[in-house]
Amino acid sequence: MYFVALTRSNVNPALVFEYLFQKIRILKAYLGEEFDENSMRNNMTLIYELMDETMDFGYPQNCAVDVLRLYINLGNIRQQDEPDTSQLTSQITGAIDWRREGIRHKRNEVYIDVLESVNLLMSSTGDILRNEVTAQVQMNTKLTGMPECKFGLNDKLVIEKETNQNRKPGVEIDDCTFHRCVRLGKFDADRTITFIPPDGEFEVMRYRVTDNINLPFRIIPAVREMQDQNR
């Protein structure tokens, strides 16, 4: 299945792609991970409604699944507690549209998963041709209210500023991209990652490291081709 977007003006291509990816994410959340043409056909009205909410006059609007769920539910599942419609406007137009107010959890928990993926290409003579790490930082938050989370990595730029000499050197992080809840100004100022998180699982950041990689495995192959003398 392909998703295609048309535009009449010269728009930023990244915007179009981002919107299409968000759209796919929303459809996955509504129709299940493996939706197909059939399920799209059967849920035409729902998709029209989603289209209407996520795009207005050609401008992408709210693409946060949690918020969309509040007022677009499949018709058969009506939520027990009807959301306060007076809050709805401020919810959609407010600064924090990825988290609704009044979330409650019995236990407050935060999980951070750092998932790294090492890429290596070594030549037959043992030279490293390509070596880099791409990583995702996934979070799962179960927090009450509107909390502010803050975490820091052992970023080289921060560690070097600290006068403590016996600290391990930091890591040079090459590119990072963040979930839009992260305050970029704060990151630029002191390299801490500060945000009001959406509820549940989300990818908070991605980064890439190309220097000083600890390769988990070293592999030394020796291949010999020979003619069989015995035959």
């Binding site: 999980y111 750092v114 790294e116 993926s117 509107m146 909390p147 010999r224 081709e225």
Partner: protein, 147 residues
Amino acid sequence: MLSKQCAHFLPCSFRVSINLKIIAQFAETLFATHVVVKIPVPKNTAKTKIKTSFGRAKYEPEQQAIVWRVKRFPGKSECMLGADIDLMPTVRNKGWVKPPINVEFQVPMFTASGVNVRFLRVYDKSGYTTSRWVRYITKAGGYQIRI
């Protein structure tokens, strides 16, 4: 020189022997899981004889490779694989275009870049306490060694 002559006249047979050493360079307290090493072998492989110091390895014709699986690979350990491969005689001996060795693995609680989370704080007006967990895992993306 020899192989060229051979290719022109008679079908001939060859053997290939592969020795591979794999060293885990992370700390002893850690271990890697789901280690899979795929060692390519020529198309006309007839028979293989494989010895490994741990894990299980076998020739999988559909993958055209010797696939070596180790469920749990402790840190700072090393492991050897030796394989003798008998090749079927072929008329057109075009030589063997060797694809790279491909390795897959997962190492929990290890980051290849050395990144770690230094602190994690949660503030809320109501001032509740939060349980916090940080996990790390390193996987192989494209981890290839040419031979």
